[in-house]
Symmetry: C2
Subunit: 264 residues, 2 copies
């Protein structure tokens, strides 16, 4: 395994093998057409609250799979080891970031239930295919993300604000963008808001809470989609005694195809 | 409140008030355009298994809402009492049918978590609007339902077979029927199977496991959708110590509109 090879792998198994061997970095552009997933692992006695939080907030938290307690495998990626096959992880204790390792076998616990959650990389493929320009990709930046003033519907001990990603869309392509993503509810679905950022309590688009600011073209309308980072914000707000997540942008690459999740 | 009035109420609040006052019978055709829901209440220590079963089997079990333990209200139907406002209930002990009362206040327990699950009445409205004939309605029958040979993906202690409903569809309207229902994942979504019943292990369409046989027109293709009765089959197969469900066809009528659940 050549871990110095930095060109994105096109085959999911090869991508996971490279990350297992120590490769790291964002998975954006890797294994195009294959579903990537956010990861959150919590102790089993928090699993019901997390699952119910996801059910009550399906736009930011579309559940793709949930493991058995202690399990580190998923039918979405046969052969994958969820403890090693992502490029980077975050380890959380009482809602505080404890460590950012490249594998978590040393942190693993037999009572961990792992949630795999849909990711906007899936709908960015759909938007690109529909001819909608992705300004942040054109500009070589990470999509800007904002913590909104809107609270998710809580579930037991799990609560937190809605986090959104923003993409500027030319007005003539707004309907195209809405429809293309609406058909992918497993990847955050239709936007939660278009236009005026103040409607979500966002003060300044130039100062995202995560990712990079992006330059809009004249006439572009800011379009806001629910974002999987909502779950990391919930870890911070809810402070479970222990949690593991992926590092931002460093997702699980599954064998599932994007089009399997298109509803029509 | 005139409980002898048997014409379907058009307004959800009026429908629920009539059932609360003792009215009973199927809710088919009541409050058209409003979402109706399957109901299942289980002790809190079974709630995670049920919620995970629903997540793993979203076509038969699309979750619309989950109450807090002991709660009998839902934001989908403000003012409703889930213990009294359905026309009929079933009470289950260890997977066996114990009683079929018209209200369940006497059976209520403080540890019950109630699941509200999407219902095919929503997609039948969409099919009708799309011009797809509903043979069972034309023939004044309950839609035929079949227990298939396909097992749902289990979750903890909860397991059981997939139950499907069948509607004969003229071949030229097959695409219309698929698309109209695919856009309603909260109401079972696209069909799970079309054509040969043997593909689902169904021996004889003339002998449904629930509901009535329906007569197909020449050329009609049998189309099978996942069915909410799957959850009652799971109660039978999994035998939780206690459970409440609605009586078949006697659903919760919510204030939500069908179109709120259309993805595009």
């Amino acid at each position: 395994m050549n871990v110095t090879d930095v060109s994105p792998a096109r085959v999911p198994q090869e991508a996971r093998a490279r990350f297992r061997a120590g490769g790291t970095g964002t998975t954006a552009g890797w294994a195009p057409g294959h579903v990537q997933a956010n990861l959150l692992a919590v102790p089993a006695d928090w699993a019901y609250d997390v699952l119910l939080f996801c059910q009550r907030n399906p736009k930011p938290c579309p559940v793709l799979d949930v493991t058995e307690a202690g399990g580190w495998t998923t039918p979405l990626a046969p052969g994958a080891d969820l403890r090693t096959d992502l490029p980077g992880y975050r380890v959380w204790a009482d809602g505080e970031l404890l460590d950012e390792p490249t594998e978590v076998t040393g942190y693993w616990r037999e009572d961990l239930v792992t949630f795999l959650i849909g990711c906007s990389f899936t709908f960015e493929t759909a938007l690109g295919e529909a001819g909608v320009p992705m300004r942040h990709i054109e500009q070589g930046r990470t999509v800007p993300m904002y913590t909104t003033a809107r609270q998710c519907r809580p579930a037991g001990r799990v609560r937190g604000p809605l986090v959104v990603s923003m993409r500027p869309v030319p007005p003539e392509l707004l309907g195209t963008a809405l429809n293309a993503t609406a058909l992918l509810p497993a990847a955050h679905g239709a936007p939660v808001h278009c236009g005026e950022p103040g409607g979500l309590g966002i003060a300044d688009l130039a100062r995202p809470d995560f990712g990079d600011p992006v330059t809009a073209e004249p006439g572009d309308i800011p379009v806001f989609w629910a974002c999987g980072v909502t779950l990391q914000a919930a870890v911070t707000a809810s402070a479970p005694p222990f949690a593991l997540t992926h590092a931002p942008g460093q997702m699980l690459i599954t064998d599932a195809r994007d089009e399997q999740y298109r509803v029509a």
